[in-house]
Symmetry: C2
Subunit: 370 residues, 2 copies
């Protein structure tokens, strides 16, 4: 509990004991050329951690050269390509790097895995091989969203279409634990994404989830709407896969579109170029706010290990941050804390539903909405 190790974006204090980190060296648009150097950066800056590079030994060592003492290569002869159908590819490529990496976690040889590979295949591999934590109905994919100041955690961003209110309430709990332990936010404020801030608004799923979160002991601050996502109103924002996925991809598209417009102006003519030179420090400040690479990648929460799925386009720097987030997720014991919290939530729900007084919480009825 002594040394401060910086996480993806913020810098909570996490215990400095070492963890074992499997890295899918073959995944992503750039493959080993970017993943291996990123993983080695982590190994060098965190000598207490052990890094297992999973993939083609010849290609890995050609890039890595002499390996640091805390790095090993674990052979895997196949790779799931970005264009493949996840379920099909997982069935056909039994020695794919993502499967071999997940098996290291399953067999207790690694505490965490990082991949830049196919998101769908990585999620499926993690659920199949690493396995769900007890009490978890559906693992959720989360992301640290940038805004001015501290980032917030948004989930689910695409793991589970057709989630139930009970699923969403579990996402809230899992997101809050990740926000506290890895992003470093004590007692994170949890909000539900809706059409408006009033509790009666939104669809039936949102209304039922609002009741569940109100009845929980989470620091639930209510419902927020789209414009609030850039304001500092919550540390964990819960939503369903479709809306969450649209938000994160629209964010990517819209911010790129706007910054490209400015870049175009800075490059057009002598006036633009001069303005660019004058504004350079300010452009740096804005760029740092939108530096999504520091978030490292998306944690898949609810599985028996720390699983971080980084961007398919991630380069060395972002892979390094992904390794750090994965290591900190394992180091702070996020999976065990999630299992424990869900066990307590289930006990609390059972106790509440067995109460008969007028103050008892309404019993959970998944069938009504899901």
């Amino acid at each position: 509990m002594s040394d401060g190790i910086s996480s993806g974006i913020s810098a909570p204090t996490v215990p400095a004991h070492g963890v074992r980190l499997a890295v899918d060296a073959m995944g992503g648009d750039h493959g080993p050329a970017e993943v291996v150097p990123g993983a080695l950066d982590h190994a060098r800056s965190h000598p207490e951690d052990q890094v297992l590079l999973v993939g083609d030994p010849a290609r890995i060592t050609a890039i890595a050269g002499a390996l640091p003492a805390n790095v090993e290569v674990v052979p895997a002869s196949q790779v799931i390509e970005m264009h493949e159908h996840p379920a099909l590819a997982l069935r056909e490529k039994r020695d794919a790097s993502i499967l071999v990496g997940c098996d290291l976690v399953r067999n207790g040889k690694a505490d965490a895995i990082v991949t830049a590979g196919h998101t769908g295949a990585a999620m499926a591999a993690a659920v199949l091989r690493v396995g769900r934590l007890p009490g978890v109905d559906r693992p959720a994919l989360a992301v640290q969203m940038v805004r001015a100041g501290r980032p917030f955690v948004l989930l689910d961003i695409g793991a589970n279409p057709d989630s139930s209110p009970e699923n969403l309430a579990q996402y809230a709990r899992m997101g809050a634990i990740f926000a506290e332990k890895v992003v470093g936010i004590p007692t994170p404020r949890v909000a539900l994404l809706s059409i408006g801030e009033e509790k009666g608004k939104g669809d039936l799923r949102i209304q039922r989830t609002t009741e569940l979160l109100d009845a929980s002991d989470l620091n639930f601050v209510g419902n927020v709407e789209g414009k609030d996502l850039v304001a500092d109103m919550a540390d964990v924002v819960v939503t369903d896969a479709v809306t969450g996925n649209v938000v994160i991809k629209f964010f990517e598209g819209l911010s790129t579109f706007i910054f490209d417009l400015w870049r175009g102006e800075f490059r057009s003519g002598i006036r633009g170029r001069l303005a660019y030179l004058l504004l350079r420090p300010g452009i740096g400040r804005i760029r740092r706010i939108f530096d999504y690479e520091r978030a490292g990648g998306s944690p898949l929460l609810g599985v028996k290990g720390a699983v971080i799925i980084t961007h398919g386009r991630a380069r060395r720097r972002m892979v390094g941050f992904a390794c750090e987030v994965a290591a900190n997720t394992a180091r702070t014991g996020v999976p065990a804390l999630i299992a424990e919290a869900l066990r307590e939530d289930a006990a609390r729900a059972a106790a509440a539903s067995s109460e008969s007084g007028p103050d008892a919480e309404a019993p959970v009825d998944a069938g009504a909405v899901s």
Copy 2:
């Protein structure tokens, strides 16, 4: 069919015959002070149209002065304030300007209504008093979204949580008619917002809606994801109320956030100010792309008249554009075209479900998903 009359953003050719436009003079954050001048701008630039200013005659004439020949005041003694509960306020304030305005449309004394008032109250008033078109299950709220080049139409942005696939397919039809007649896009490309472009992705509602749109004679170009919203991939994007509302409000929040960051840099110190002067033409170009005021406001599609709900914060200029969009929606006969198209769609669906060959389309089963 001769004169070109510019619409909110683009400039389709619409017939120049006059329409009668009711304007809720009292609604919005700024009330008559901005709404009345905006409506008068429209009356002056469109002498063929008749404008009915609905509200407090004393307040309206104090702002308007001598009225142009094509402007009249229609008295209404009450106003629904922005903070009121819509259903409650509509029951209690029988002489509210939004209700009196909607009754003008209902009674055939106006073809269109514009309001900057409470969105929920305006939608409810329009459905109650103007009424749904035959065949319309649920009217939908649409918006013209800005991007580089031509805007696209996004709907539903908040009228109906818990829409069924059949509702979403109707939104597609209604949005396509608005896009063609008012935005001026012949044979608009229709897309469905989803998690990915592959047809199997998304939740059950999206999957079923994809089938319905595939079976329609709309120019359905498939599913798009969040990042595609800034690309020129579709002219009409269909989504459910929650995702649509989150997208439009996140757009507002994120673009404001980014532009505020740039504004801060342009105002900080002599370097920023100098850069601003150098970049002024470019800033103007970017500002024109993000000039959402030109869209005028959100059409409520599926009711028996042209209903445009503009921004609560709309000022004179945006109110003027809202009047133009409302007038063009009425002038091009959008409501009648929607009723006709939905009648044809229903006939086509009935014919398809009575076919018994292997090529027949699957019959519609709303209960499975909605």
